[in-house]
C-alpha cells in the first residue's frame, strides 16, 4: 500500500489532535478563546448580528442550521488579531513540546 502524502498529513493531524485531547491541552485551548472573545466584545458583536438574523427570519422559525450558516463565517472573520495570535502561539508551543510523538 502506498501511503500518499495527503494521507500521511491527515494521519499526522489526527495524531496531533489525539495528543491534544489526551494531554488535556485541547480543553485548555478551548478556554482561552471563550474568555478572550467575550472580553474583547466579539460575542457582543455576534449577538447583535444574531438579533438581526432572527428578526429577519422570524423568531418562531429560526433553526440551528440557519444560525450556524449565518453566524459562523461572520464569527470567524470577527476574531480580533490579538486573540488569534495568542491562540496560534499556544498551539505552536504545544507542537514543539510534543515534537516526538
Amino acid at each position: 500500500l502506498v501511503v500518499s502524502k495527503m494521507n500521511k498529513d491527515a494521519q499526522m493531524t489526527a495524531a496531533i489532535n489525539q495528543k491534544l485531547i489526551e494531554t488535556g491541552e485541547r480543553e485548555c485551548l478551548k478556554e482561552l478563546p471563550r474568555a478572550k472573545l467575550t472580553e474583547c466584545g466579539w460575542k457582543g458583536q455576534l449577538k447583535s448580528h444574531c438579533k438581526e438574523v432572527i428578526k429577519e427570519k422570524g423568531l418562531e422559525h429560526v433553526t440551528v442550521d440557519d444560525l450556524v450558516a449565518e453566524i459562523t463565517p461572520k464569527g470567524r472573520g470577527l476574531v480580533p488579531d490579538s486573540v488569534k495570535k495568542e491562540l496560534l502561539q499556544r498551539i505552536r508551543t504545544f507542537l514543539a513540546q510534543h515534537a516526538s510523538l
Binding site: Q11, A15, V68, A99
Partner: protein, 347 residues
Amino acid sequence: MKMEEMSLSGLDNSKLEAIAQEIYADLVEDSCLGFCFEVHRAVKCGYFFLDDTDPDSMKDFEIVDQPGLDIFGQVFNQWKSKECVCPNCSRSIAASRFAPHLEKCLGMGRNSSRIANRRIANSNNMNKSESDQEDNDDINDNDWSYGSEKKAKKRKSDKNPNSPRRSKSLKHKNGELSNSDPFKYNNSTGISYETLGPEELRSLLTTQCGVISEHTKKMCTRSLRCPQHTDEQRRTVRIYFLGPSAVLPEVESSLDNDSFDMTDSQALISRLQWDGSSDLSPSDSGSSKTSENQGWGLGTNSSESRKTKKKKSHLSLVGTASSLGSNKKKKPKPPAPPTPSIYDDIN
C-alpha cells in the same frame, strides 16, 4: 489501539504552521458553534430579547447630570430645611432641631428642664446641700424614675424598692414629701395643685408650706415653716383643700387627737399599725430609713429631726401617732419597708 508513531521533527515549519492553523480554525469554529447553540436555545426559550428595554423606560432612568442634583435627580440636603410642627407646643421647628426640641418640650429627655425644675424644688424643700447633690446624682442617672408624670410612674412601678439608690436618696431626706413619695414627686406636684389628687394634696400639705402664690398660682414647696408665708396662710390653704377639719401639721402635737376625721383616722391607724410593725423590727437600732420612707411629715418632731439629721424610729412613731389627723399617707405601703435592713448601720 495504538497509533502509529510519527515524528514531527521530520516535518518542516510550514507543515507545522499549517497544522497549527488547522487547529486554530477548529477552535474558533467550536466557539462559534457553541455560541449559536446558546442563542438558539435563548430564542426558543424566550429569553433572548429580555435585556432590551423600550426607549420610554430608558428615558426615565437616564443618568442625571445637573448641578445640585445627584445622578438619580434627587436634591441634596432636602430635609434640612424642612420644618415640622411640634405636637406639644404647636410650633414649627426645623427638622434637624426637632428631636432635641421635643425632648425639652415634653420634658422626658435626659437633660430636660423638668429635672432642673425638680432640682430647684428639691433645694427649696430641703435645707441641706448634700442631699441636693445626692439627689442630683440620682436624678441624672434615673431618666424616668423620679420626676416623671404619674402615668410614667405607673409604667415604671417595677422599680425595685430595695435598690440601693432609692434608699440612698431617701436616706438624706428628712421624711419630706419628695423622699418618701418618689412616685408623687413630679415637678408639678409641689408646684401646681390642679393636677394633684386629694391624697397627694394631703400628703403634700403635711410636708410643705403649700401656700398658693398669687402670681404663679402654684403651691409653695418650701418647708412648713417657710418665712415667706404665715401660718395663717397655710391654714387657709389647708382648709381650702382639705375641708374645715384640716389642720396644720405644726399645730398638731397635742391637739391631734381632737381634730382628725374619723374615717381617715381609722384608715390611718390600720396603715400605721402595718407601718409600725415594719417600722419597729428593723429600726429599733435607730436607723432613719423607715421614718423617712413613711413620709410622716411631722410637725415639731420632724423639724427637730430634720435639723439634727437623725430620725429615731420611736420619734417617728410618736410623731405619726400624734399627727394622725393631718398626715395622710398616699400609699398604704411605704416604698421601702425592707430597706432598713440594708441600711441599718448607716446613720
